[in-house]
Protein backbone atom coordinates (compact mmCIF):
# COMPACT_ATOMS: atom_id res chain seq x y z
CA UNK A 1 0.00 0.00 0.00
CA UNK A 2 1.25 3.45 -0.81
CA UNK A 3 1.28 6.22 1.77
CA UNK A 4 -1.53 7.88 -0.14
CA UNK A 5 -3.74 4.87 0.48
CA UNK A 6 -3.03 4.99 4.20
CA UNK A 7 -4.04 8.60 4.59
CA UNK A 8 -7.09 8.27 2.36
CA UNK A 9 -10.44 7.79 4.03
CA UNK A 10 -11.55 5.92 0.92
CA UNK A 11 -9.11 4.21 -1.45
CA UNK A 12 -10.32 2.30 -4.49
CA UNK A 13 -8.00 0.43 -6.87
CA UNK A 14 -8.97 -1.27 -10.11
CA UNK A 15 -12.50 -2.01 -8.98
CA UNK A 16 -14.59 -4.08 -11.37
CA UNK A 17 -18.15 -5.32 -11.17
CA UNK A 18 -20.39 -6.99 -13.73
CA UNK A 19 -24.00 -8.08 -13.59
CA UNK A 20 -24.18 -10.86 -16.13
CA UNK A 21 -22.89 -9.38 -19.39
CA UNK A 22 -23.19 -5.81 -18.21
CA UNK A 23 -19.84 -4.40 -17.07
CA UNK A 24 -20.95 -1.72 -14.64
CA UNK A 25 -17.52 -0.90 -13.21
CA UNK A 26 -14.47 -1.40 -15.45
CA UNK A 27 -11.51 -0.60 -13.26
CA UNK A 28 -12.28 2.33 -10.98
CA UNK A 29 -9.47 4.14 -9.08
CA UNK A 30 -10.40 6.71 -6.49
CA UNK A 31 -8.86 8.41 -3.46
CA UNK A 32 -10.83 10.48 -1.02
CA UNK A 33 -8.69 12.43 1.44
CA UNK A 34 -9.64 12.42 5.11
CA UNK A 35 -11.93 15.27 6.08
CA UNK A 36 -12.78 16.24 2.50
CA UNK A 37 -16.02 16.34 0.58
CA UNK A 38 -15.76 14.30 -2.60
CA UNK A 39 -18.44 14.38 -5.27
CA UNK A 40 -18.88 11.53 -7.70
CA UNK A 41 -20.66 12.82 -10.76
CA UNK A 42 -22.28 10.66 -13.34
CA UNK A 43 -25.41 10.18 -15.35
CA UNK A 44 -27.91 7.44 -14.61
CA UNK A 45 -26.36 4.05 -15.13
CA UNK A 46 -22.78 5.30 -14.85
CA UNK A 47 -22.16 2.93 -11.94
CA UNK A 48 -22.30 5.40 -9.04
CA UNK A 49 -24.71 3.38 -6.94
CA UNK A 50 -22.86 0.14 -7.64
CA UNK A 51 -19.63 1.73 -6.43
CA UNK A 52 -21.34 3.04 -3.30
CA UNK A 53 -22.87 -0.38 -2.61
CA UNK A 54 -19.46 -2.02 -2.83
CA UNK A 55 -18.00 0.58 -0.44
CA UNK A 56 -20.98 -0.02 1.84
CA UNK A 57 -20.32 -3.81 1.91
CA UNK A 58 -23.70 -4.52 0.27
CA UNK A 59 -22.12 -5.90 -2.89
CA UNK A 60 -18.90 -7.78 -3.55
CA UNK A 61 -16.57 -6.58 -6.28
CA UNK A 62 -15.39 -8.96 -9.02
CA UNK A 63 -11.86 -7.55 -9.01
CA UNK A 64 -9.83 -4.80 -7.43
CA UNK A 65 -9.73 -3.51 -3.85
CA UNK A 66 -11.60 -0.91 -1.86
CA UNK A 67 -10.68 0.41 1.57
CA UNK A 68 -12.83 2.54 3.84
CA UNK A 69 -11.13 4.18 6.82
CA UNK A 70 -8.17 1.87 6.16
CA UNK A 71 -10.18 -1.38 6.28
CA UNK A 72 -10.64 -3.62 3.26
CA UNK A 73 -14.33 -4.03 2.37
CA UNK A 74 -13.82 -7.60 1.21
CA UNK A 75 -11.71 -8.98 4.04
CA UNK A 76 -12.75 -6.79 6.97
CA UNK A 77 -16.39 -5.81 6.35
CA UNK A 78 -17.28 -5.71 10.05
CA UNK A 79 -14.66 -3.02 10.76
CA UNK A 80 -15.75 -1.13 7.65
CA UNK A 81 -19.35 -1.10 8.89
CA UNK A 82 -18.22 0.49 12.13
CA UNK A 83 -16.49 3.26 10.21
CA UNK A 84 -19.08 4.60 7.79
CA UNK A 85 -22.72 5.30 7.37
CA UNK A 86 -24.85 5.25 4.25
CA UNK A 87 -27.75 7.43 3.28
CA UNK A 88 -29.34 5.84 0.29
CA UNK A 89 -31.04 7.18 -2.75
CA UNK A 90 -34.43 6.49 -1.24
CA UNK A 91 -34.90 7.70 2.30
CA UNK A 92 -34.75 4.44 4.22
CA UNK A 93 -36.66 5.34 7.34
CA UNK A 94 -39.12 3.06 9.10
CA UNK A 95 -42.48 4.62 8.28
CA UNK A 96 -44.37 2.84 11.03
CA UNK A 97 -42.02 3.97 13.78
CA UNK A 98 -41.93 7.59 14.96
CA UNK A 99 -38.95 9.77 14.11
CA UNK A 100 -37.67 9.41 17.65
CA UNK A 101 -38.06 5.62 17.58
CA UNK A 102 -36.17 5.46 14.29
CA UNK A 103 -33.24 7.34 15.81
CA UNK A 104 -33.30 5.37 19.07
CA UNK A 105 -33.33 2.08 17.14
CA UNK A 106 -30.23 3.04 15.17
CA UNK A 107 -28.51 4.21 18.38
CA UNK A 108 -29.22 0.83 19.98
CA UNK A 109 -27.94 -0.99 16.90
CA UNK A 110 -24.76 1.08 17.06
CA UNK A 111 -24.49 -0.04 20.68
CA UNK A 112 -24.50 3.44 22.18
CA UNK A 113 -25.48 3.98 25.80
CA UNK A 114 -28.66 6.01 26.40
CA UNK A 115 -30.27 5.71 22.96
CA UNK A 116 -33.15 7.96 23.99
CA UNK A 117 -30.87 10.91 24.75
CA UNK A 118 -29.02 10.43 21.46
CA UNK A 119 -32.37 10.50 19.65
CA UNK A 120 -33.54 13.66 21.41
CA UNK A 121 -30.28 15.44 20.68
CA UNK A 122 -30.51 14.65 16.95
CA UNK A 123 -34.18 15.60 16.75
CA UNK A 124 -33.14 18.96 18.12
CA UNK A 125 -30.16 19.36 15.76
CA UNK A 126 -32.32 18.56 12.73
CA UNK A 127 -35.33 20.67 13.79
CA UNK A 128 -37.50 17.60 14.15
CA UNK A 129 -38.29 17.84 17.86
CA UNK A 130 -41.95 18.66 17.31
CA UNK A 131 -42.36 15.92 14.73
CA UNK A 132 -40.39 13.39 16.79
CA UNK A 133 -43.49 11.73 18.21
CA UNK A 134 -45.20 11.30 14.85
CA UNK A 135 -44.84 8.31 12.56
CA UNK A 136 -42.17 8.91 9.93
CA UNK A 137 -44.70 7.88 7.27
CA UNK A 138 -46.47 11.21 7.83
CA UNK A 139 -43.32 13.30 7.17
CA UNK A 140 -42.75 15.45 4.09
CA UNK A 141 -39.94 14.54 1.70
CA UNK A 142 -37.56 17.07 3.25
CA UNK A 143 -38.27 15.96 6.79
CA UNK A 144 -37.77 12.31 5.84
CA UNK A 145 -34.42 13.09 4.28
CA UNK A 146 -33.39 15.08 7.38
CA UNK A 147 -34.39 12.12 9.55
CA UNK A 148 -32.56 9.78 7.18
CA UNK A 149 -29.36 11.81 7.42
CA UNK A 150 -29.75 12.19 11.19
CA UNK A 151 -30.01 8.40 11.46
CA UNK A 152 -26.80 7.99 9.52
CA UNK A 153 -24.89 10.39 11.77
CA UNK A 154 -25.53 8.40 14.95
CA UNK A 155 -22.27 7.21 16.44
CA UNK A 156 -20.27 9.84 14.51
CA UNK A 157 -18.94 7.58 11.75
CA UNK A 158 -15.75 9.07 10.26
CA UNK A 159 -16.90 8.38 6.69
CA UNK A 160 -20.34 9.35 5.39
CA UNK A 161 -21.60 7.98 2.06
CA UNK A 162 -24.48 9.94 0.56
CA UNK A 163 -26.00 8.29 -2.50
CA UNK A 164 -27.87 10.99 -4.43
CA UNK A 165 -28.96 12.74 -1.24
CA UNK A 166 -31.05 15.40 -2.98
CA UNK A 167 -32.72 13.38 -5.72
CA UNK A 168 -36.44 14.00 -5.64
CA UNK A 169 -36.28 16.86 -3.14
CA UNK A 170 -37.75 20.32 -3.62
CA UNK A 171 -35.34 23.27 -3.69
CA UNK A 172 -35.76 24.12 0.00
CA UNK A 173 -35.19 20.58 1.17
CA UNK A 174 -32.15 20.43 -1.10
CA UNK A 175 -30.71 23.55 0.52
CA UNK A 176 -31.27 21.96 3.93
CA UNK A 177 -29.35 18.86 2.86
CA UNK A 178 -26.54 21.02 1.49
CA UNK A 179 -26.33 22.90 4.79
CA UNK A 180 -26.14 19.56 6.61
CA UNK A 181 -23.32 18.32 4.38
CA UNK A 182 -21.41 21.56 5.00
CA UNK A 183 -21.86 21.14 8.76
CA UNK A 184 -20.64 17.53 8.49
CA UNK A 185 -17.55 18.58 6.58
CA UNK A 186 -16.72 21.35 9.04
CA UNK A 187 -17.04 18.74 11.81
CA UNK A 188 -14.20 16.76 10.23
CA UNK A 189 -16.12 13.90 8.60
CA UNK A 190 -15.14 12.58 5.20
CA UNK A 191 -18.08 12.78 2.81
CA UNK A 192 -18.46 10.92 -0.46
CA UNK A 193 -21.57 11.99 -2.27
CA UNK A 194 -22.91 10.89 -5.60
CA UNK A 195 -25.03 13.23 -7.63
CA UNK A 196 -26.29 13.96 -11.10
CA UNK A 197 -26.61 17.67 -10.28
CA UNK A 198 -23.56 19.60 -11.36
CA UNK A 199 -24.28 22.61 -9.19
CA UNK A 200 -24.45 20.34 -6.16
CA UNK A 201 -20.93 19.09 -6.80
CA UNK A 202 -19.76 22.64 -7.50
CA UNK A 203 -21.24 23.98 -4.29
CA UNK A 204 -20.18 21.22 -1.86
CA UNK A 205 -17.17 19.33 -3.09
CA UNK A 206 -13.47 19.86 -2.48
CA UNK A 207 -12.79 17.38 -5.22
CA UNK A 208 -14.89 15.99 -8.03
CA UNK A 209 -14.63 12.81 -10.06
CA UNK A 210 -16.66 12.01 -13.13
CA UNK A 211 -17.71 8.40 -13.49
CA UNK A 212 -18.67 7.51 -17.02
CA UNK A 213 -19.47 4.04 -18.33
CA UNK A 214 -17.77 2.35 -15.40
CA UNK A 215 -14.54 4.38 -15.41
CA UNK A 216 -13.36 7.55 -13.71
CA UNK A 217 -12.67 9.78 -16.68
CA UNK A 218 -11.78 12.94 -14.75
CA UNK A 219 -10.72 13.57 -11.16
CA UNK A 220 -9.65 16.85 -9.62
CA UNK A 221 -10.63 20.08 -7.90
CA UNK A 222 -13.20 22.26 -9.57
CA UNK A 223 -10.42 24.58 -10.77
CA UNK A 224 -8.47 21.65 -12.22
CA UNK A 225 -11.54 20.35 -14.03
CA UNK A 226 -12.26 23.80 -15.40
CA UNK A 227 -8.70 24.00 -16.68
CA UNK A 228 -9.41 20.97 -18.85
CA UNK A 229 -11.58 23.15 -21.05
CA UNK A 230 -10.35 25.97 -23.31
CA UNK A 231 -9.74 29.21 -21.38
CA UNK A 232 -12.80 31.25 -20.56
CA UNK A 233 -13.89 33.91 -23.02
CA UNK A 234 -15.46 37.10 -21.79
CA UNK A 235 -19.05 37.44 -22.92
CA UNK A 236 -21.69 39.89 -21.81
CA UNK A 237 -24.90 38.12 -20.99
CA UNK A 238 -27.94 39.72 -19.42
CA UNK A 239 -28.41 37.96 -16.09
CA UNK A 240 -31.94 36.67 -15.76
CA UNK A 241 -33.00 35.25 -12.40
CA UNK A 242 -33.26 31.48 -12.54
CA UNK A 243 -36.62 29.98 -11.77
CA UNK A 244 -35.09 28.53 -8.61
CA UNK A 245 -34.06 32.00 -7.45
CA UNK A 246 -37.55 33.28 -8.18
CA UNK A 247 -39.13 30.37 -6.34
CA UNK A 248 -36.93 30.80 -3.30
CA UNK A 249 -37.38 34.58 -3.27
CA UNK A 250 -41.15 34.22 -3.28
CA UNK A 251 -41.48 31.47 -0.70
CA UNK A 252 -38.52 32.61 1.44
CA UNK A 253 -35.43 30.42 1.36
CA UNK A 254 -34.55 30.27 5.03
CA UNK A 255 -36.06 27.03 6.30
CA UNK A 256 -33.82 27.05 9.40
CA UNK A 257 -35.85 29.77 11.05
CA UNK A 258 -39.17 28.10 10.65
CA UNK A 259 -40.70 25.34 12.73
CA UNK A 260 -39.99 21.98 11.15
CA UNK A 261 -43.62 20.99 10.64
CA UNK A 262 -44.60 24.26 9.08
CA UNK A 263 -42.03 24.26 6.28
CA UNK A 264 -44.08 22.12 3.97
CA UNK A 265 -47.62 22.16 5.26
CA UNK A 266 -48.11 25.91 5.40
CA UNK A 267 -46.37 26.49 2.08
CA UNK A 268 -48.65 24.12 0.27
CA UNK A 269 -51.78 25.92 1.34
Amino acid sequence: MTTETRTSAIAVRGLEKSFGDVHVLRGVDLDVARGSVFALLGSNGAGKSTLVKILATLLKADAGTARVAGFDVATDPARVRESFSLTGQFAAVDEILTGRENLALVARLRHLPDAGAVADDLLDRFSLTEAGGRRAGTYSGGMRRRLDIAMSLIGDPPVVLLDEPTTGLDPQARQEVWATVERLASGGATVLLTTQYLEEAERLADRIAILHRGRVIADGTLAELKALLPPARVEYVKKQPTLEEVFLAIVGDDPENEPADATTTTKEQ
Partner: protein
Protein backbone atom coordinates in the same frame (compact mmCIF):
# COMPACT_ATOMS: atom_id res chain seq x y z
CA UNK B 1 -19.45 -8.47 17.02
CA UNK B 2 -21.09 -11.77 17.98
CA UNK B 3 -21.31 -10.49 21.55
CA UNK B 4 -23.85 -8.00 20.26
CA UNK B 5 -25.95 -10.37 18.20
CA UNK B 6 -28.48 -11.11 20.97
CA UNK B 7 -28.90 -7.41 21.70
CA UNK B 8 -29.19 -6.56 18.00
CA UNK B 9 -31.79 -9.27 17.49
CA UNK B 10 -33.71 -8.02 20.53
CA UNK B 11 -33.70 -4.42 19.27
CA UNK B 12 -34.83 -5.45 15.80
CA UNK B 13 -37.46 -7.86 17.14
CA UNK B 14 -38.82 -5.05 19.31
CA UNK B 15 -39.09 -2.98 16.17
CA UNK B 16 -41.06 -5.50 14.12
CA UNK B 17 -43.27 -6.43 17.09
CA UNK B 18 -44.11 -2.75 17.25
CA UNK B 19 -45.14 -2.98 13.60
CA UNK B 20 -47.50 -5.82 14.50
CA UNK B 21 -48.88 -3.93 17.51
CA UNK B 22 -49.53 -0.86 15.34
CA UNK B 23 -51.37 -2.89 12.74
CA UNK B 24 -53.28 -5.40 14.89
CA UNK B 25 -55.43 -6.04 11.82
CA UNK B 26 -52.69 -8.40 10.62
CA UNK B 27 -53.41 -10.68 13.59
CA UNK B 28 -57.18 -10.35 13.14
CA UNK B 29 -57.02 -11.20 9.44
CA UNK B 30 -54.66 -14.08 10.22
CA UNK B 31 -57.32 -15.49 12.56
CA UNK B 32 -60.41 -14.55 10.52
CA UNK B 33 -60.06 -17.11 7.74
CA UNK B 34 -59.37 -20.09 10.02
CA UNK B 35 -62.27 -19.03 12.26
CA UNK B 36 -64.55 -18.72 9.22
CA UNK B 37 -63.52 -22.22 8.11
CA UNK B 38 -64.14 -23.51 11.60
CA UNK B 39 -67.67 -22.04 11.58
CA UNK B 40 -68.36 -23.24 8.04
CA UNK B 41 -67.19 -26.79 8.58
CA UNK B 42 -68.73 -27.23 12.02
CA UNK B 43 -72.13 -25.59 11.44
CA UNK B 44 -72.67 -26.17 7.70
CA UNK B 45 -70.84 -29.36 6.72
CA UNK B 46 -70.29 -30.73 10.19
CA UNK B 47 -73.72 -32.34 10.63
CA UNK B 48 -73.18 -34.44 7.54
CA UNK B 49 -69.57 -35.30 8.37
CA UNK B 50 -69.88 -36.03 12.08
CA UNK B 51 -70.98 -39.62 11.71
CA UNK B 52 -67.59 -40.65 10.32
CA UNK B 53 -65.29 -39.04 12.89
CA UNK B 54 -66.04 -41.47 15.69
CA UNK B 55 -66.77 -40.42 19.23
CA UNK B 56 -65.08 -37.00 19.02
CA UNK B 57 -67.12 -33.88 18.43
CA UNK B 58 -66.40 -32.55 14.95
CA UNK B 59 -64.98 -29.24 16.23
CA UNK B 60 -62.36 -31.19 18.20
CA UNK B 61 -61.65 -33.34 15.15
CA UNK B 62 -61.28 -30.24 12.97
CA UNK B 63 -59.26 -27.97 15.25
CA UNK B 64 -55.73 -29.34 14.59
CA UNK B 65 -56.08 -28.79 10.82
CA UNK B 66 -57.52 -25.32 11.40
CA UNK B 67 -54.52 -24.48 13.60
CA UNK B 68 -52.15 -25.39 10.76
CA UNK B 69 -54.19 -23.21 8.37
CA UNK B 70 -53.83 -20.37 10.88
CA UNK B 71 -50.05 -20.71 10.75
CA UNK B 72 -50.04 -20.78 6.95
CA UNK B 73 -52.07 -17.57 6.75
CA UNK B 74 -49.90 -16.01 9.49
CA UNK B 75 -46.57 -16.57 7.80
CA UNK B 76 -47.67 -14.76 4.63
CA UNK B 77 -47.48 -11.58 6.75
CA UNK B 78 -43.90 -12.43 7.62
CA UNK B 79 -43.07 -12.56 3.92
CA UNK B 80 -44.98 -9.30 3.49
CA UNK B 81 -43.15 -7.48 6.32
CA UNK B 82 -39.77 -8.66 5.06
CA UNK B 83 -40.63 -7.63 1.50
CA UNK B 84 -41.59 -4.14 2.68
CA UNK B 85 -38.28 -3.82 4.56
CA UNK B 86 -36.32 -4.87 1.49
CA UNK B 87 -38.19 -2.66 -0.98
CA UNK B 88 -38.12 0.38 1.35
CA UNK B 89 -34.34 0.13 1.79
CA UNK B 90 -34.49 -0.36 5.57
CA UNK B 91 -33.10 -3.86 5.13
CA UNK B 92 -30.03 -2.49 3.33
CA UNK B 93 -29.59 0.20 5.95
CA UNK B 94 -29.39 -2.48 8.65
CA UNK B 95 -27.00 -4.51 6.50
CA UNK B 96 -24.58 -1.57 6.30
CA UNK B 97 -24.53 -1.13 10.05
CA UNK B 98 -22.30 -2.96 12.54
CA UNK B 99 -25.16 -5.33 13.29
CA UNK B 100 -24.82 -9.11 13.45
CA UNK B 101 -25.61 -10.23 9.91
CA UNK B 102 -28.48 -12.62 10.41
CA UNK B 103 -30.17 -10.75 13.25
CA UNK B 104 -32.28 -8.87 10.72
CA UNK B 105 -33.79 -12.18 9.60
CA UNK B 106 -34.03 -13.64 13.10
CA UNK B 107 -35.97 -10.59 14.24
CA UNK B 108 -38.62 -11.29 11.60
CA UNK B 109 -38.65 -14.98 12.48
CA UNK B 110 -39.13 -14.33 16.21
CA UNK B 111 -41.85 -11.79 15.45
CA UNK B 112 -43.58 -14.40 13.31
CA UNK B 113 -43.51 -16.88 16.21
CA UNK B 114 -45.09 -14.32 18.57
CA UNK B 115 -47.72 -13.09 16.08
CA UNK B 116 -48.70 -16.65 15.14
CA UNK B 117 -48.93 -17.66 18.81
CA UNK B 118 -51.41 -14.83 19.41
CA UNK B 119 -53.46 -15.79 16.34
CA UNK B 120 -53.46 -19.47 17.43
CA UNK B 121 -54.70 -18.49 20.89
CA UNK B 122 -57.54 -16.49 19.30
CA UNK B 123 -58.55 -19.47 17.15
CA UNK B 124 -58.41 -21.89 20.10
CA UNK B 125 -60.54 -19.47 22.14
CA UNK B 126 -63.18 -19.44 19.40
CA UNK B 127 -63.05 -23.24 19.23
CA UNK B 128 -63.62 -23.40 23.00
CA UNK B 129 -66.73 -21.24 22.58
CA UNK B 130 -67.90 -23.67 19.88
CA UNK B 131 -67.62 -26.66 22.17
CA UNK B 132 -64.01 -27.80 21.77
CA UNK B 133 -62.91 -29.57 24.93
CA UNK B 134 -59.68 -31.34 25.76
CA UNK B 135 -58.61 -33.12 28.91
CA UNK B 136 -55.03 -33.28 27.67
CA UNK B 137 -52.33 -33.29 30.32
CA UNK B 138 -49.89 -30.39 30.62
CA UNK B 139 -47.28 -32.62 29.03
CA UNK B 140 -49.55 -33.30 26.03
CA UNK B 141 -50.24 -29.54 25.70
CA UNK B 142 -46.50 -28.96 25.81
CA UNK B 143 -46.23 -31.42 22.93
CA UNK B 144 -48.94 -29.54 21.01
CA UNK B 145 -47.16 -26.22 21.60
CA UNK B 146 -43.83 -27.75 20.62
CA UNK B 147 -45.10 -29.19 17.34
CA UNK B 148 -46.99 -26.02 16.42
CA UNK B 149 -43.89 -23.97 17.28
CA UNK B 150 -41.66 -26.17 15.13
CA UNK B 151 -44.18 -26.09 12.25
CA UNK B 152 -44.40 -22.26 12.50
CA UNK B 153 -40.61 -21.95 12.59
CA UNK B 154 -40.21 -24.15 9.50
CA UNK B 155 -42.87 -22.30 7.50
CA UNK B 156 -41.53 -18.92 8.65
CA UNK B 157 -38.09 -19.69 7.24
CA UNK B 158 -39.85 -20.80 4.07
CA UNK B 159 -41.63 -17.40 4.03
CA UNK B 160 -38.27 -15.63 4.29
CA UNK B 161 -37.44 -16.81 0.75
CA UNK B 162 -40.30 -14.98 -1.05
CA UNK B 163 -39.86 -12.10 1.41
CA UNK B 164 -36.31 -11.58 0.14
CA UNK B 165 -36.86 -12.40 -3.52
CA UNK B 166 -40.38 -11.28 -4.45
CA UNK B 167 -40.74 -8.53 -7.03
CA UNK B 168 -44.16 -7.40 -5.81
CA UNK B 169 -46.28 -7.42 -2.66
CA UNK B 170 -48.60 -9.97 -4.25
CA UNK B 171 -45.71 -12.29 -4.95
CA UNK B 172 -44.46 -11.97 -1.39
CA UNK B 173 -47.72 -12.82 0.33
CA UNK B 174 -49.30 -14.96 -2.38
CA UNK B 175 -46.86 -17.86 -2.09
CA UNK B 176 -48.79 -19.22 0.89
CA UNK B 177 -52.04 -19.86 -1.02
CA UNK B 178 -50.99 -23.21 -2.50
CA UNK B 179 -50.00 -24.30 1.01
CA UNK B 180 -53.56 -23.61 2.13
CA UNK B 181 -54.78 -26.50 -0.03
CA UNK B 182 -52.58 -29.10 1.65
CA UNK B 183 -54.92 -29.46 4.65
CA UNK B 184 -57.82 -30.23 2.29
CA UNK B 185 -55.82 -33.13 0.83
CA UNK B 186 -55.15 -34.53 4.27
CA UNK B 187 -56.94 -35.98 7.27
CA UNK B 188 -57.61 -32.45 8.55
CA UNK B 189 -61.28 -32.29 7.54
CA UNK B 190 -62.28 -35.91 6.92
CA UNK B 191 -60.58 -39.26 7.52
CA UNK B 192 -58.49 -40.37 4.54
CA UNK B 193 -60.08 -43.84 4.18
CA UNK B 194 -63.10 -42.51 2.23
CA UNK B 195 -60.85 -40.87 -0.40
CA UNK B 196 -60.09 -42.52 -3.78
CA UNK B 197 -56.86 -44.53 -3.60
CA UNK B 198 -54.48 -42.07 -5.34
CA UNK B 199 -55.75 -39.12 -3.28
CA UNK B 200 -55.59 -41.15 -0.09
CA UNK B 201 -52.04 -42.21 -0.96
CA UNK B 202 -51.03 -38.56 -1.33
CA UNK B 203 -52.92 -37.53 1.80
CA UNK B 204 -51.34 -40.23 3.94
CA UNK B 205 -47.82 -39.33 2.84
CA UNK B 206 -47.84 -35.58 3.20
CA UNK B 207 -46.78 -33.65 6.31
CA UNK B 208 -50.17 -32.13 7.19
CA UNK B 209 -51.77 -35.54 7.81
CA UNK B 210 -49.12 -36.78 10.21
CA UNK B 211 -48.89 -33.45 12.04
CA UNK B 212 -52.70 -33.19 12.30
CA UNK B 213 -52.99 -36.80 13.49
CA UNK B 214 -50.41 -36.26 16.21
CA UNK B 215 -52.01 -33.01 17.40
CA UNK B 216 -55.42 -34.70 17.41
CA UNK B 217 -54.14 -37.67 19.42
CA UNK B 218 -52.42 -35.41 21.94
CA UNK B 219 -55.55 -33.28 22.43
CA UNK B 220 -57.83 -36.34 22.62
CA UNK B 221 -55.57 -38.07 25.18
CA UNK B 222 -54.85 -40.91 22.76
CA UNK B 223 -51.45 -42.60 22.41
CA UNK B 224 -49.50 -40.96 19.57
CA UNK B 225 -47.26 -43.89 18.67
CA UNK B 226 -44.78 -43.72 15.81
CA UNK B 227 -46.76 -41.02 14.04
CA UNK B 228 -45.05 -38.56 16.40
CA UNK B 229 -41.65 -39.34 14.87
CA UNK B 230 -43.02 -39.01 11.36
CA UNK B 231 -44.51 -35.62 12.20
CA UNK B 232 -41.30 -34.45 13.89
CA UNK B 233 -39.24 -35.67 10.94
CA UNK B 234 -41.45 -33.68 8.55
CA UNK B 235 -41.15 -30.53 10.68
CA UNK B 236 -37.40 -30.78 11.23
CA UNK B 237 -36.76 -31.75 7.59
CA UNK B 238 -38.88 -28.86 6.32
CA UNK B 239 -37.14 -26.51 8.75
CA UNK B 240 -33.68 -27.63 7.62
CA UNK B 241 -34.51 -27.22 3.92
CA UNK B 242 -36.28 -23.88 4.41
CA UNK B 243 -33.48 -22.49 6.60
CA UNK B 244 -30.82 -23.61 4.14
CA UNK B 245 -32.75 -22.08 1.23
CA UNK B 246 -33.38 -18.83 3.06
CA UNK B 247 -29.73 -18.44 4.06
CA UNK B 248 -28.61 -19.22 0.50
CA UNK B 249 -30.90 -16.48 -0.84
CA UNK B 250 -29.73 -14.14 1.93
CA UNK B 251 -26.05 -14.68 1.10
CA UNK B 252 -26.60 -14.40 -2.64
CA UNK B 253 -28.02 -10.91 -2.16
CA UNK B 254 -24.52 -9.59 -1.48
CA UNK B 255 -22.63 -11.62 -4.10
Amino acid sequence: MTTHSAGDTAALTGRSLRHVLRSPDTIITTAVMPVAMLLLFVYVFGGAIEADTGSESYVSYLLPGILLITVVSGISYTAFRLFVDVSAGIFERFQTMPVARSSVLWAHVLTSLVANAVALIVVIAVALLMGFRSGASPLAWLGVIGILGLFTLALTWLAVIPGLTAKSVDGASGFAYPLLFLPFLSSAFVPTDTMPAPVAAFAEHQPVTSIVDVLRSLLAEQPVGDELWVALAWCVGLLAVAYWGAMAVFRRRSA
